[in-house]
Subunit: 120 residues, 2 copies
Amino acid sequence: MLTDEYRYKILKILEANPEISQRDLARELGISLGRVNFCLKALIEVGLLKATNFRNNQNKLGYMYFLTPKGLEEKSVITARFLKAKLQEYANLQTEIEELRKDVNQTMSIKYHQMEIKQP
Amino acid sequence: MLTDEYRYKILKILEANPEISQRDLARELGISLGRVNFCLKALIEVGLLKATNFRNNQNKLGYMYFLTPKGLEEKSVITARFLKAKLQEYANLQTEIEELRKDVNQTMSIKYHQMEIKQP
DNA sequence: AAACTGACGTTCAATTAATGAACGGTTGAT
DNA sequence: ATCAACCGTTCATTAATTGAACGTCAGTTT
């Protein structure tokens, strides 16, 4: 599956470093090689990325992945959308944490009360 | 899979409302019926929950799920652990959002600069 | 009383998502 | 020529989840 998270992260990494290998990309993203391969293909498929054969200074061969004009354009859209989602997530987390704090305090207070009762 | 998230949520909901059906629980948690069934069995398996046959005021039959003493005890541990994880998640999200903001601003600034250049 | 309705928990075949070992190809060193 | 080190690609396998289908029970309707 190709989510905005990986759209954003992959485009960002490749813009800064187009000659990274799929394995290193997988390591950096914390996902499997197969999944990286799948995501790259998908990004190429929709025209955000282009792969060109390339052999660099040392024992590396393989592709260089660079953003197409459409990719550059779309990246800002994706980034903004991803940020928006993260801000929402942040707000949700805030209320969720408040709720959790209440739960913890409530339990604590019960325990404390039980302790008081047990005092001689 | 039974994660802390559902351990916490299920124990919380059932403590407040032990006679909820698996379907309603699924709806409330936003997961499937099969998964709720799986989670409940797992919680019963480890002794945090107990199911007793029960028929209530109207056309409902089925189980009443209530927390065992161990379940009550463990719930506070799980809640605290879950809160801690959420706080970490919150902190991570904060830096992630900062990073995203930078990216957005950077792109904006490039676009703005391009606009200026294009001015006659 | 027999048939129907609706809600219950249980099951499991099917779907979806993700993994990583294995493969063939290419490069540069031994 | 052989070897070792990477490369991208593939795909059988595992993991996780879904929800339609099933049998059961209690109340309602025919």
